[in-house]
Protein backbone atom coordinates (compact mmCIF):
# COMPACT_ATOMS: atom_id res chain seq x y z
CA UNK A 1 0.00 0.00 0.00
CA UNK A 2 2.72 2.43 1.05
CA UNK A 3 4.72 1.48 -2.04
CA UNK A 4 1.71 2.41 -4.19
CA UNK A 5 1.39 5.76 -2.44
CA UNK A 6 5.09 6.48 -2.98
CA UNK A 7 4.74 5.55 -6.64
CA UNK A 8 1.72 7.80 -7.00
CA UNK A 9 3.39 10.83 -5.41
CA UNK A 10 6.40 10.50 -7.69
CA UNK A 11 4.10 10.28 -10.70
CA UNK A 12 2.36 13.42 -9.45
CA UNK A 13 5.68 15.22 -8.98
CA UNK A 14 6.95 14.10 -12.40
CA UNK A 15 3.77 15.13 -14.21
CA UNK A 16 3.67 18.52 -12.50
CA UNK A 17 7.39 19.27 -12.67
CA UNK A 18 7.94 18.35 -16.31
CA UNK A 19 5.05 20.54 -17.44
CA UNK A 20 6.11 23.45 -15.26
CA UNK A 21 9.71 23.13 -16.42
CA UNK A 22 8.54 23.29 -20.03
CA UNK A 23 6.48 26.39 -19.29
CA UNK A 24 9.49 28.14 -17.77
CA UNK A 25 11.62 27.02 -20.72
CA UNK A 26 9.06 28.49 -23.13
CA UNK A 27 8.92 31.74 -21.19
CA UNK A 28 12.70 32.15 -20.96
CA UNK A 29 13.64 31.42 -24.55
CA UNK A 30 11.75 34.53 -25.59
CA UNK A 31 13.69 36.61 -23.05
CA UNK A 32 17.03 35.02 -23.91
CA UNK A 33 16.49 35.56 -27.62
CA UNK A 34 15.12 39.09 -27.26
CA UNK A 35 17.86 40.77 -29.38
CA UNK A 36 17.44 38.21 -32.21
CA UNK A 37 13.64 38.49 -32.08
CA UNK A 38 13.90 42.27 -32.07
CA UNK A 39 15.86 42.14 -35.32
CA UNK A 40 13.33 39.73 -36.88
CA UNK A 41 10.08 41.26 -35.69
CA UNK A 42 10.64 44.67 -34.16
CA UNK A 43 12.86 46.74 -36.45
CA UNK A 44 14.05 49.96 -34.80
CA UNK A 45 13.38 51.81 -38.05
CA UNK A 46 9.66 51.35 -37.49
CA UNK A 47 8.69 53.19 -34.28
CA UNK A 48 5.41 51.32 -33.85
CA UNK A 49 7.15 47.96 -34.11
CA UNK A 50 9.72 49.13 -31.57
CA UNK A 51 6.87 50.18 -29.29
CA UNK A 52 5.30 46.73 -29.58
CA UNK A 53 8.67 45.30 -28.58
CA UNK A 54 8.62 47.36 -25.39
CA UNK A 55 5.09 46.19 -24.68
CA UNK A 56 6.06 42.57 -25.30
CA UNK A 57 8.91 42.90 -22.82
CA UNK A 58 7.10 44.72 -20.06
CA UNK A 59 3.46 43.77 -20.36
CA UNK A 60 4.01 40.00 -20.46
CA UNK A 61 6.06 39.95 -17.30
CA UNK A 62 4.51 42.62 -15.16
CA UNK A 63 0.84 42.90 -16.04
CA UNK A 64 -0.21 39.69 -17.71
CA UNK A 65 1.48 37.28 -15.29
CA UNK A 66 -0.42 38.48 -12.20
CA UNK A 67 -3.55 38.71 -14.35
CA UNK A 68 -2.99 35.07 -15.41
CA UNK A 69 -2.67 34.18 -11.73
CA UNK A 70 -6.16 35.63 -11.14
CA UNK A 71 -7.79 34.10 -14.22
CA UNK A 72 -6.38 30.60 -13.86
CA UNK A 73 -6.28 30.67 -10.06
CA UNK A 74 -10.02 31.30 -10.10
CA UNK A 75 -10.56 28.52 -12.65
CA UNK A 76 -8.42 26.14 -10.60
CA UNK A 77 -10.53 26.77 -7.53
CA UNK A 78 -13.76 26.42 -9.49
CA UNK A 79 -13.20 23.49 -11.86
CA UNK A 80 -10.11 21.85 -10.41
CA UNK A 81 -6.33 21.89 -10.46
CA UNK A 82 -5.76 19.19 -13.05
CA UNK A 83 -7.69 20.68 -15.98
CA UNK A 84 -6.58 24.22 -15.23
CA UNK A 85 -2.87 23.56 -15.31
CA UNK A 86 -3.40 21.33 -18.33
CA UNK A 87 -4.97 24.33 -20.04
CA UNK A 88 -2.09 26.63 -19.12
CA UNK A 89 0.34 24.09 -20.57
CA UNK A 90 -1.56 23.93 -23.86
CA UNK A 91 -1.73 27.73 -24.12
CA UNK A 92 1.95 28.13 -23.31
CA UNK A 93 3.11 25.33 -25.63
CA UNK A 94 0.87 26.45 -28.48
CA UNK A 95 2.01 30.08 -28.20
CA UNK A 96 5.68 29.14 -28.10
CA UNK A 97 5.39 26.86 -31.12
CA UNK A 98 3.45 29.53 -33.02
CA UNK A 99 6.14 32.17 -32.36
CA UNK A 100 8.59 29.81 -34.05
CA UNK A 101 6.38 29.76 -37.16
CA UNK A 102 5.68 33.48 -37.64
CA UNK A 103 7.33 34.92 -40.75
CA UNK A 104 9.57 37.92 -40.08
CA UNK A 105 8.72 41.61 -40.42
CA UNK A 106 10.34 41.70 -43.85
CA UNK A 107 7.91 39.03 -45.13
CA UNK A 108 4.54 39.93 -43.64
CA UNK A 109 5.21 43.44 -42.36
CA UNK A 110 3.36 44.86 -39.41
CA UNK A 111 1.35 41.67 -38.76
CA UNK A 112 4.56 39.99 -37.53
CA UNK A 113 5.19 42.14 -34.42
CA UNK A 114 1.46 42.23 -33.61
CA UNK A 115 1.24 38.42 -33.69
CA UNK A 116 4.40 38.05 -31.60
CA UNK A 117 3.08 40.49 -29.02
CA UNK A 118 -0.24 38.63 -28.77
CA UNK A 119 1.49 35.28 -28.39
CA UNK A 120 3.88 36.70 -25.81
CA UNK A 121 0.92 37.99 -23.81
CA UNK A 122 -0.63 34.52 -23.96
CA UNK A 123 2.67 33.10 -22.66
CA UNK A 124 2.60 35.50 -19.71
CA UNK A 125 -1.03 34.65 -19.00
CA UNK A 126 -0.36 30.90 -19.05
CA UNK A 127 2.71 31.20 -16.84
CA UNK A 128 0.64 33.14 -14.32
CA UNK A 129 -1.68 30.17 -14.01
CA UNK A 130 0.79 27.32 -14.10
CA UNK A 131 2.88 27.54 -10.97
CA UNK A 132 0.06 27.84 -8.44
CA UNK A 133 -1.64 24.82 -9.97
CA UNK A 134 1.46 22.64 -9.96
CA UNK A 135 2.49 23.57 -6.42
CA UNK A 136 -1.03 23.12 -5.08
CA UNK A 137 -1.47 19.82 -6.91
CA UNK A 138 1.75 18.33 -5.48
CA UNK A 139 1.17 19.74 -1.98
CA UNK A 140 -2.34 18.34 -1.84
CA UNK A 141 -0.95 14.88 -2.58
CA UNK A 142 1.87 15.16 -0.01
CA UNK A 143 1.94 13.95 3.59
CA UNK A 144 2.56 16.70 6.18
CA UNK A 145 6.05 15.61 7.09
CA UNK A 146 7.26 15.62 3.46
CA UNK A 147 5.36 18.57 1.99
CA UNK A 148 8.42 20.79 1.78
CA UNK A 149 10.47 18.00 0.23
CA UNK A 150 7.93 17.01 -2.43
CA UNK A 151 6.99 20.56 -3.42
CA UNK A 152 10.66 21.52 -3.66
CA UNK A 153 10.82 19.46 -6.87
CA UNK A 154 8.39 21.96 -8.37
CA UNK A 155 10.75 24.68 -7.13
CA UNK A 156 13.62 23.30 -9.22
CA UNK A 157 11.64 23.75 -12.43
CA UNK A 158 12.02 27.52 -12.85
CA UNK A 159 15.79 27.27 -12.56
CA UNK A 160 15.96 24.12 -14.70
CA UNK A 161 13.74 25.81 -17.30
CA UNK A 162 16.30 28.61 -17.49
CA UNK A 163 19.10 26.01 -17.64
CA UNK A 164 17.46 24.10 -20.51
CA UNK A 165 16.65 27.29 -22.42
CA UNK A 166 20.25 28.53 -22.18
CA UNK A 167 21.55 25.08 -23.12
CA UNK A 168 19.26 24.63 -26.15
CA UNK A 169 20.08 28.12 -27.40
CA UNK A 170 23.85 27.61 -27.02
CA UNK A 171 23.79 24.17 -28.67
CA UNK A 172 21.65 25.38 -31.58
CA UNK A 173 23.80 28.49 -32.01
CA UNK A 174 26.93 26.35 -32.28
CA UNK A 175 25.67 23.48 -34.40
CA UNK A 176 24.25 25.00 -37.57
CA UNK A 177 27.60 25.12 -39.35
CA UNK A 178 31.14 23.84 -38.81
CA UNK A 179 32.36 27.45 -38.92
CA UNK A 180 31.18 29.18 -35.71
CA UNK A 181 30.74 32.60 -37.32
CA UNK A 182 28.57 31.11 -40.07
CA UNK A 183 26.67 29.08 -37.49
CA UNK A 184 25.85 32.19 -35.46
CA UNK A 185 24.79 34.03 -38.63
CA UNK A 186 22.46 31.15 -39.56
CA UNK A 187 21.10 31.08 -36.02
CA UNK A 188 20.30 34.78 -36.15
CA UNK A 189 18.70 34.33 -39.56
CA UNK A 190 16.49 31.25 -39.04
CA UNK A 191 18.04 28.94 -36.40
CA UNK A 192 16.43 30.89 -33.52
CA UNK A 193 13.15 29.20 -34.52
CA UNK A 194 14.45 25.76 -33.46
CA UNK A 195 14.24 26.32 -29.67
CA UNK A 196 10.63 27.50 -30.14
CA UNK A 197 9.63 24.61 -32.37
CA UNK A 198 11.33 21.97 -30.19
CA UNK A 199 9.02 23.00 -27.38
CA UNK A 200 5.99 21.37 -28.99
CA UNK A 201 7.45 17.86 -28.63
CA UNK A 202 8.04 18.42 -24.91
CA UNK A 203 4.59 19.91 -24.47
CA UNK A 204 2.84 16.97 -26.18
CA UNK A 205 4.67 14.49 -23.94
CA UNK A 206 3.77 16.53 -20.89
CA UNK A 207 0.10 16.86 -21.88
CA UNK A 208 -0.04 13.07 -22.35
CA UNK A 209 1.41 12.53 -18.86
CA UNK A 210 -0.89 15.09 -17.23
CA UNK A 211 -4.01 13.74 -18.92
CA UNK A 212 -3.42 10.41 -17.19
CA UNK A 213 -3.29 12.03 -13.74
CA UNK A 214 -6.24 12.27 -11.37
CA UNK A 215 -7.63 15.40 -9.75
CA UNK A 216 -6.10 16.50 -6.43
CA UNK A 217 -7.74 14.36 -3.72
CA UNK A 218 -8.45 17.37 -1.50
CA UNK A 219 -10.13 19.32 -4.26
CA UNK A 220 -12.04 16.22 -5.45
CA UNK A 221 -13.34 15.76 -1.90
CA UNK A 222 -14.44 19.39 -1.69
CA UNK A 223 -16.21 19.07 -5.00
CA UNK A 224 -18.01 15.90 -4.00
CA UNK A 225 -19.17 17.57 -0.80
CA UNK A 226 -20.25 20.68 -2.74
CA UNK A 227 -17.92 22.87 -0.68
CA UNK A 228 -15.92 24.51 -3.45
CA UNK A 229 -15.79 28.27 -3.51
CA UNK A 230 -18.49 30.12 -5.42
CA UNK A 231 -16.42 33.25 -5.89
CA UNK A 232 -12.71 32.58 -5.27
CA UNK A 233 -11.61 36.12 -6.17
CA UNK A 234 -13.97 37.70 -3.66
CA UNK A 235 -13.10 35.20 -0.94
CA UNK A 236 -9.37 35.64 -1.58
CA UNK A 237 -9.06 39.39 -1.88
CA UNK A 238 -12.12 40.96 -0.33
CA UNK A 239 -12.52 38.94 2.86
CA UNK A 240 -10.21 40.53 5.41
CA UNK A 241 -9.17 37.24 7.01
CA UNK A 242 -7.69 35.98 3.76
CA UNK A 243 -6.57 39.31 2.31
CA UNK A 244 -4.30 39.94 5.27
CA UNK A 245 -2.61 36.57 4.63
CA UNK A 246 -2.22 37.37 0.90
CA UNK A 247 -0.54 40.67 1.84
CA UNK A 248 1.68 38.93 4.37
CA UNK A 249 2.69 36.31 1.79
CA UNK A 250 3.61 39.07 -0.67
CA UNK A 251 5.42 41.54 1.57
CA UNK A 252 6.90 39.02 4.01
CA UNK A 253 8.07 36.34 1.59
CA UNK A 254 7.53 36.43 -2.19
CA UNK A 255 8.66 40.04 -2.70
CA UNK A 256 12.12 39.34 -1.27
CA UNK A 257 12.26 35.88 -2.78
CA UNK A 258 11.52 37.37 -6.23
CA UNK A 259 14.40 39.86 -6.14
CA UNK A 260 16.85 37.28 -4.75
CA UNK A 261 15.81 34.85 -7.52
CA UNK A 262 16.22 37.36 -10.33
CA UNK A 263 19.44 38.87 -8.96
CA UNK A 264 21.11 35.49 -8.55
CA UNK A 265 20.20 34.11 -11.94
CA UNK A 266 19.34 36.95 -14.30
CA UNK A 267 21.04 40.09 -13.08
CA UNK A 268 24.21 38.11 -12.35
CA UNK A 269 24.32 36.97 -15.97
CA UNK A 270 23.42 40.40 -17.28
CA UNK A 271 26.08 41.99 -15.04
CA UNK A 272 28.78 39.53 -16.13
CA UNK A 273 27.92 40.11 -19.79
CA UNK A 274 27.12 43.82 -19.87
CA UNK A 275 29.13 45.36 -17.03
CA UNK A 276 32.10 42.98 -16.86
CA UNK A 277 31.94 42.50 -20.66
CA UNK A 278 32.53 38.75 -20.59
CA UNK A 279 31.69 37.21 -23.98
CA UNK A 280 28.29 35.77 -24.91
CA UNK A 281 29.17 32.09 -24.54
CA UNK A 282 31.13 32.32 -21.29
CA UNK A 283 28.58 34.56 -19.58
CA UNK A 284 25.96 31.92 -20.30
CA UNK A 285 27.97 28.80 -19.52
CA UNK A 286 28.96 30.35 -16.17
CA UNK A 287 25.26 30.47 -15.26
CA UNK A 288 24.67 26.99 -16.69
CA UNK A 289 27.39 25.43 -14.48
CA UNK A 290 26.32 27.36 -11.41
CA UNK A 291 22.70 26.30 -11.90
CA UNK A 292 23.70 22.69 -12.43
CA UNK A 293 25.65 22.54 -9.16
CA UNK A 294 23.13 24.56 -7.15
CA UNK A 295 19.83 23.03 -8.26
CA UNK A 296 19.95 20.01 -5.88
CA UNK A 297 19.87 22.49 -2.99
CA UNK A 298 16.26 23.42 -3.75
CA UNK A 299 15.42 19.90 -2.64
CA UNK A 300 17.88 20.01 0.27
CA UNK A 301 16.31 23.17 1.70
CA UNK A 302 12.78 22.01 0.89
CA UNK A 303 13.41 18.82 2.81
CA UNK A 304 15.11 20.65 5.67
CA UNK A 305 12.10 22.95 5.96
CA UNK A 306 9.98 19.92 6.87
CA UNK A 307 12.16 19.52 9.96
CA UNK A 308 12.88 23.07 11.13
CA UNK A 309 10.09 25.10 9.51
CA UNK A 310 10.03 27.24 6.36
CA UNK A 311 10.47 30.71 7.80
CA UNK A 312 14.05 30.82 9.00
CA UNK A 313 15.54 29.13 5.95
CA UNK A 314 13.94 31.77 3.73
CA UNK A 315 14.86 34.65 6.04
CA UNK A 316 18.49 33.58 6.40
CA UNK A 317 18.70 33.21 2.61
CA UNK A 318 17.47 36.79 2.24
CA UNK A 319 19.85 38.09 4.91
CA UNK A 320 22.86 36.39 3.30
CA UNK A 321 21.86 37.82 -0.08
CA UNK A 322 21.53 41.34 1.32
CA UNK A 323 24.95 41.36 3.00
CA UNK A 324 26.87 39.62 0.25
CA UNK A 325 25.60 41.11 -3.02
CA UNK A 326 27.94 44.08 -3.15
CA UNK A 327 31.13 42.18 -2.23
CA UNK A 328 30.33 39.34 -4.65
CA UNK A 329 29.51 41.59 -7.61
CA UNK A 330 32.52 43.75 -6.78
CA UNK A 331 34.64 40.61 -6.98
CA UNK A 332 33.23 39.94 -10.49
CA UNK A 333 34.45 43.40 -11.55
CA UNK A 334 37.84 42.79 -9.99
CA UNK A 335 38.27 39.37 -11.64
CA UNK A 336 37.39 40.66 -15.11
CA UNK A 337 39.30 43.92 -14.92
CA UNK A 338 41.89 44.30 -17.70
CA UNK A 339 43.35 47.71 -16.82
CA UNK A 340 46.63 46.24 -15.57
CA UNK A 341 46.92 44.05 -18.65
CA UNK A 342 46.28 46.98 -20.97
CA UNK A 343 49.23 48.86 -19.51
CA UNK A 344 51.56 46.07 -20.57
CA UNK A 345 50.36 45.96 -24.17
CA UNK A 346 52.38 47.46 -27.04
CA UNK A 347 50.84 50.48 -28.75
CA UNK A 348 51.58 53.52 -30.79
CA UNK A 349 52.15 56.43 -28.46
CA UNK A 350 49.91 59.47 -28.66
CA UNK A 351 51.62 62.60 -29.91
CA UNK A 352 54.40 60.70 -31.63
CA UNK A 353 55.23 61.30 -35.23
CA UNK A 354 54.53 58.05 -37.05
CA UNK A 355 57.79 58.28 -38.98
CA UNK A 356 59.91 59.24 -35.98
CA UNK A 357 62.60 57.03 -34.48
CA UNK A 358 60.67 56.76 -31.18
CA UNK A 359 57.67 55.45 -32.98
CA UNK A 360 59.74 52.86 -34.76
CA UNK A 361 61.16 51.76 -31.43
CA UNK A 362 57.73 50.50 -30.56
CA UNK A 363 58.14 47.82 -33.16
CA UNK A 364 60.51 46.19 -30.70
CA UNK A 365 57.75 46.14 -28.12
CA UNK A 366 55.61 44.27 -30.57
CA UNK A 367 58.38 41.80 -31.28
CA UNK A 368 58.72 41.12 -27.56
CA UNK A 369 54.96 40.79 -27.27
CA UNK A 370 54.79 38.14 -29.99
CA UNK A 371 57.88 36.37 -28.69
CA UNK A 372 56.00 35.64 -25.44
CA UNK A 373 53.42 33.64 -27.38
CA UNK A 374 50.80 36.39 -27.44
CA UNK A 375 48.76 37.36 -30.48
CA UNK A 376 46.94 40.46 -31.61
CA UNK A 377 44.49 40.86 -34.47
CA UNK A 378 43.66 44.27 -35.81
CA UNK A 379 40.29 44.77 -37.44
CA UNK A 380 39.61 48.17 -38.98
CA UNK A 381 35.93 48.89 -38.60
CA UNK A 382 35.80 52.26 -40.31
CA UNK A 383 38.23 54.88 -41.65
CA UNK A 384 36.84 58.35 -42.25
CA UNK A 385 39.16 60.75 -44.06
CA UNK A 386 38.44 64.45 -43.67
CA UNK A 387 40.54 66.07 -46.39
CA UNK A 388 39.83 69.63 -45.33
CA UNK A 389 41.15 69.08 -41.80
CA UNK A 390 43.86 66.62 -42.89
CA UNK A 391 42.39 64.15 -40.45
CA UNK A 392 41.67 60.43 -40.46
CA UNK A 393 39.26 59.11 -37.86
CA UNK A 394 39.69 55.37 -37.42
CA UNK A 395 37.37 52.99 -35.66
CA UNK A 396 39.16 49.76 -35.07
CA UNK A 397 39.30 46.73 -32.85
CA UNK A 398 42.29 44.92 -31.45
CA UNK A 399 41.68 41.35 -30.39
CA UNK A 400 44.28 40.64 -27.73
CA UNK A 401 44.98 36.94 -27.36
CA UNK A 402 47.27 36.81 -24.37
CA UNK A 403 48.99 33.74 -23.08
CA UNK A 404 47.57 32.59 -19.72
CA UNK A 405 45.59 35.79 -19.39
CA UNK A 406 42.15 37.16 -20.20
CA UNK A 407 41.61 37.56 -23.94
CA UNK A 408 39.68 40.61 -24.94
CA UNK A 409 38.85 43.07 -27.68
CA UNK A 410 39.77 46.71 -27.45
CA UNK A 411 37.38 49.02 -29.28
CA UNK A 412 38.94 52.36 -30.13
CA UNK A 413 38.22 55.44 -32.17
CA UNK A 414 41.48 57.30 -32.73
CA UNK A 415 42.55 60.13 -34.95
CA UNK A 416 45.57 60.76 -37.14
CA UNK A 417 46.07 64.47 -37.69
CA UNK A 418 48.17 66.16 -40.38
CA UNK A 419 48.12 62.88 -42.22
CA UNK A 420 49.60 64.32 -45.40
CA UNK A 421 52.39 66.44 -44.00
CA UNK A 422 53.36 65.28 -40.52
CA UNK A 423 51.10 62.39 -39.36
CA UNK A 424 50.53 62.11 -35.64
CA UNK A 425 48.33 59.81 -33.50
CA UNK A 426 45.74 61.29 -31.19
CA UNK A 427 44.21 58.76 -28.90
CA UNK A 428 40.59 58.97 -27.92
CA UNK A 429 40.20 58.28 -24.23
CA UNK A 430 36.87 56.49 -24.67
CA UNK A 431 38.14 52.97 -25.12
CA UNK A 432 35.98 49.96 -24.34
CA UNK A 433 37.16 46.48 -23.56
CA UNK A 434 34.64 43.89 -24.66
CA UNK A 435 34.22 40.18 -25.49
CA UNK A 436 36.46 39.13 -22.61
CA UNK A 437 37.35 35.47 -22.53
CA UNK A 438 38.36 34.48 -19.04
CA UNK A 439 41.20 32.18 -18.02
CA UNK A 440 40.12 28.82 -16.66
CA UNK A 441 40.90 29.80 -13.10
CA UNK A 442 38.98 33.09 -13.25
CA UNK A 443 36.11 31.40 -15.07
CA UNK A 444 35.64 28.82 -12.31
CA UNK A 445 36.02 31.43 -9.58
CA UNK A 446 33.08 33.31 -11.11
CA UNK A 447 31.12 30.05 -11.45
CA UNK A 448 31.74 29.43 -7.73
CA UNK A 449 30.46 32.84 -6.71
CA UNK A 450 27.41 32.68 -8.99
CA UNK A 451 26.80 29.29 -7.39
CA UNK A 452 26.80 31.02 -4.00
CA UNK A 453 24.23 33.53 -5.31
CA UNK A 454 22.06 30.67 -6.54
CA UNK A 455 22.38 28.91 -3.17
CA UNK A 456 20.66 31.98 -1.68
CA UNK A 457 17.98 31.48 -4.35
CA UNK A 458 17.54 27.85 -3.28
CA UNK A 459 17.16 28.95 0.35
CA UNK A 460 14.43 31.48 -0.32
CA UNK A 461 12.72 29.52 -3.09
CA UNK A 462 13.04 25.86 -2.03
CA UNK A 463 10.53 25.98 0.86
CA UNK A 464 8.19 28.67 -0.50
CA UNK A 465 5.66 26.43 -2.28
CA UNK A 466 4.94 24.52 0.92
CA UNK A 467 4.88 27.81 2.84
CA UNK A 468 2.28 29.36 0.49
CA UNK A 469 0.14 26.23 0.29
CA UNK A 470 -0.05 26.07 4.09
CA UNK A 471 -1.20 29.68 4.36
CA UNK A 472 -4.51 29.32 2.52
CA UNK A 473 -7.65 27.14 2.65
CA UNK A 474 -8.09 24.42 0.00
CA UNK A 475 -11.11 25.99 -1.64
CA UNK A 476 -9.33 29.25 -2.55
CA UNK A 477 -5.72 28.05 -2.42
CA UNK A 478 -4.95 28.22 -6.15
CA UNK A 479 -6.17 31.84 -6.41
CA UNK A 480 -4.77 33.04 -3.10
CA UNK A 481 -1.23 31.73 -3.52
CA UNK A 482 -0.89 32.50 -7.24
CA UNK A 483 -1.29 36.26 -6.97
CA UNK A 484 1.34 37.02 -4.30
CA UNK A 485 3.69 34.58 -6.02
CA UNK A 486 3.41 36.28 -9.41
CA UNK A 487 3.44 39.81 -8.03
CA UNK A 488 6.53 38.93 -5.98
CA UNK A 489 8.28 37.16 -8.83
CA UNK A 490 6.85 38.81 -11.93
CA UNK A 491 6.77 42.41 -10.73
CA UNK A 492 9.38 42.77 -7.97
CA UNK A 493 11.66 40.05 -9.32
CA UNK A 494 11.07 40.59 -13.03
CA UNK A 495 11.90 44.26 -12.69
CA UNK A 496 15.27 43.57 -11.05
CA UNK A 497 17.42 43.49 -14.22
CA UNK A 498 15.67 46.54 -15.64
CA UNK A 499 15.76 48.72 -12.51
CA UNK A 500 19.30 47.66 -11.64
CA UNK A 501 20.47 48.56 -15.14
CA UNK A 502 18.48 51.79 -15.06
CA UNK A 503 20.15 52.82 -11.80
CA UNK A 504 23.57 52.29 -13.37
CA UNK A 505 22.61 54.68 -16.17
CA UNK A 506 21.40 57.33 -13.71
CA UNK A 507 24.29 57.06 -11.23
CA UNK A 508 27.14 56.29 -13.59
CA UNK A 509 29.92 56.55 -10.99
CA UNK A 510 29.09 53.29 -9.23
CA UNK A 511 28.85 50.07 -11.20
CA UNK A 512 27.24 48.36 -8.22
CA UNK A 513 24.51 50.94 -7.69
CA UNK A 514 21.94 48.65 -9.36
CA UNK A 515 22.19 46.26 -6.43
CA UNK A 516 20.46 48.75 -4.15
CA UNK A 517 17.12 47.75 -5.62
CA UNK A 518 17.24 44.04 -4.68
CA UNK A 519 19.01 44.87 -1.40
CA UNK A 520 16.32 47.34 -0.29
CA UNK A 521 13.37 45.22 -1.41
CA UNK A 522 14.84 42.11 0.25
CA UNK A 523 15.62 44.11 3.41
CA UNK A 524 12.03 45.35 3.77
CA UNK A 525 10.76 41.83 3.12
CA UNK A 526 13.21 40.40 5.65
CA UNK A 527 12.03 42.75 8.41
CA UNK A 528 8.36 42.01 7.65
CA UNK A 529 9.02 38.27 7.39
CA UNK A 530 10.97 38.11 10.66
CA UNK A 531 8.38 40.14 12.55
CA UNK A 532 5.11 38.77 11.22
CA UNK A 533 5.55 35.31 9.68
CA UNK A 534 5.13 32.19 11.75
CA UNK A 535 7.57 29.31 11.60
CA UNK A 536 4.87 26.73 12.34
CA UNK A 537 4.27 24.00 9.80
CA UNK A 538 0.56 23.57 9.17
CA UNK A 539 -0.21 19.95 10.07
CA UNK A 540 -3.40 19.93 8.05
CA UNK A 541 -3.82 21.42 4.60
CA UNK A 542 -7.05 19.47 4.12
CA UNK A 543 -9.12 22.31 5.51
Amino acid sequence: MQQNETKTIWQVIAASSVGTLIEWYDFYIFGSLAPVLAAQFFPKTNPTAALLSTLATFAAGFIVRPFGALVFGRLGDLIGRKYTFLLTLIIMGGSTFAIGLIPGYETIGFAAPVLVLLLRLLQGLALGGEYGGAATYVAEHSPTNRRGYYTSWIQTTATLGLFVSLGVILITRHSLDADLTKSIAKFNQWGWRIPFLVSIILVIISIYIRLRMKESPLFAKLKTEGKTSVNPLKESFVHKGNLKMVLLALFGATMGQGVVWYTGQFYAQSFIENVCKVDFDQSRTIIIWAILFATPFFVVFGRWSDKIGRKWIMMIGMLLAIVSYRPVFNYFIHLTDVKELVRSLPKQMPGLNINSQESKDFEKQWDDFFAKGNKADLIIIKNDTIEKEQKIISQYKYRWILKDEIQFSELRTDTVINYKSNPEFRYNKNVTYIDKRLTTSKYWKIVAFVWVLIIFVTMVYGPIAAFLVEMFPTKIRYTSMSLPYHVGNGVFGGLTPFIATLLTTIYTGDKLVGLWYPVLVAAVCLVIGVLYISNKIDPDVND
Binding site: F58, N242, M245, F251, V527, I528, Y532
Partner: protein, 81 residues
Amino acid sequence: MNKLKRYTGIIWIALGPLAVYYLIKTAAAEIAKKPVIDTKIQWIVFIVVFIPIAMGMMIFGYYAFKGEYDHLPESSAEIED
Protein backbone atom coordinates in the same frame (compact mmCIF):
# COMPACT_ATOMS: atom_id res chain seq x y z
CA MET B 1 6.63 41.58 20.22
CA ASN B 2 3.01 42.43 19.39
CA LYS B 3 3.69 46.08 20.25
CA LEU B 4 6.61 46.13 17.86
CA LYS B 5 4.46 44.52 15.15
CA ARG B 6 1.83 47.22 15.64
CA TYR B 7 4.20 50.20 15.73
CA THR B 8 6.14 49.10 12.67
CA GLY B 9 2.75 49.12 10.93
CA ILE B 10 3.13 52.91 10.79
CA ILE B 11 6.33 52.48 8.76
CA TRP B 12 4.55 50.21 6.27
CA ILE B 13 1.68 52.67 5.96
CA ALA B 14 4.16 55.46 5.20
CA LEU B 15 6.19 53.34 2.80
CA GLY B 16 3.30 53.09 0.29
CA PRO B 17 2.93 56.81 -0.54
CA LEU B 18 6.69 57.35 -0.24
CA ALA B 19 7.37 54.67 -2.85
CA VAL B 20 4.72 56.11 -5.19
CA TYR B 21 6.12 59.63 -4.78
CA TYR B 22 9.64 58.44 -5.57
CA LEU B 23 8.39 56.40 -8.53
CA ILE B 24 6.44 59.29 -10.06
CA LYS B 25 9.33 61.70 -9.47
CA THR B 26 11.81 59.34 -11.15
CA ALA B 27 9.36 58.64 -14.00
CA ALA B 28 8.88 62.36 -14.65
CA ALA B 29 12.65 62.95 -14.65
CA GLU B 30 13.34 60.00 -16.96
CA ILE B 31 10.56 60.91 -19.37
CA ALA B 32 11.79 64.51 -19.47
CA LYS B 33 15.31 63.26 -20.15
CA LYS B 34 14.22 60.99 -23.02
CA PRO B 35 10.70 61.90 -24.11
CA VAL B 36 10.14 59.02 -26.53
CA ILE B 37 7.10 56.74 -26.54
CA ASP B 38 9.17 53.74 -25.31
CA THR B 39 10.21 55.56 -22.14
CA LYS B 40 6.66 56.78 -21.54
CA ILE B 41 5.17 53.30 -21.95
CA GLN B 42 7.75 51.73 -19.63
CA TRP B 43 7.11 54.22 -16.86
CA ILE B 44 3.35 54.21 -17.27
CA VAL B 45 3.42 50.41 -16.93
CA PHE B 46 5.52 50.73 -13.76
CA ILE B 47 3.23 53.33 -12.22
CA VAL B 48 0.07 51.40 -13.10
CA VAL B 49 1.51 48.21 -11.63
CA PHE B 50 3.08 49.72 -8.52
CA ILE B 51 0.22 51.92 -7.34
CA PRO B 52 -2.01 48.96 -6.36
CA ILE B 53 1.02 47.31 -4.71
CA ALA B 54 1.72 50.49 -2.73
CA MET B 55 -1.92 50.55 -1.68
CA GLY B 56 -1.53 46.92 -0.62
CA MET B 57 1.46 47.94 1.50
CA MET B 58 -0.62 50.63 3.18
CA ILE B 59 -3.43 48.16 3.89
CA PHE B 60 -0.85 45.71 5.25
CA GLY B 61 0.52 48.45 7.51
CA TYR B 62 -2.97 49.36 8.64
CA TYR B 63 -3.77 45.72 9.51
CA ALA B 64 -0.46 45.45 11.35
CA PHE B 65 -1.18 48.64 13.28
CA LYS B 66 -4.63 47.38 14.22
CA GLY B 67 -3.12 44.17 15.58
CA GLU B 68 -4.46 41.84 12.89
CA TYR B 69 -1.14 39.98 12.88
CA ASP B 70 -0.84 39.63 16.65
CA HIS B 71 -2.17 36.13 16.21
CA LEU B 72 -1.84 34.28 12.91
CA PRO B 73 -4.62 31.84 12.00
CA GLU B 74 -3.81 28.21 12.72
CA SER B 75 -6.62 26.74 10.69
CA SER B 76 -8.63 27.70 7.64
CA ALA B 77 -11.70 28.16 9.78
CA GLU B 78 -10.01 31.16 11.40
CA ILE B 79 -9.28 32.69 8.00
CA GLU B 80 -12.81 32.22 6.77
CA ASP B 81 -14.38 33.77 9.88
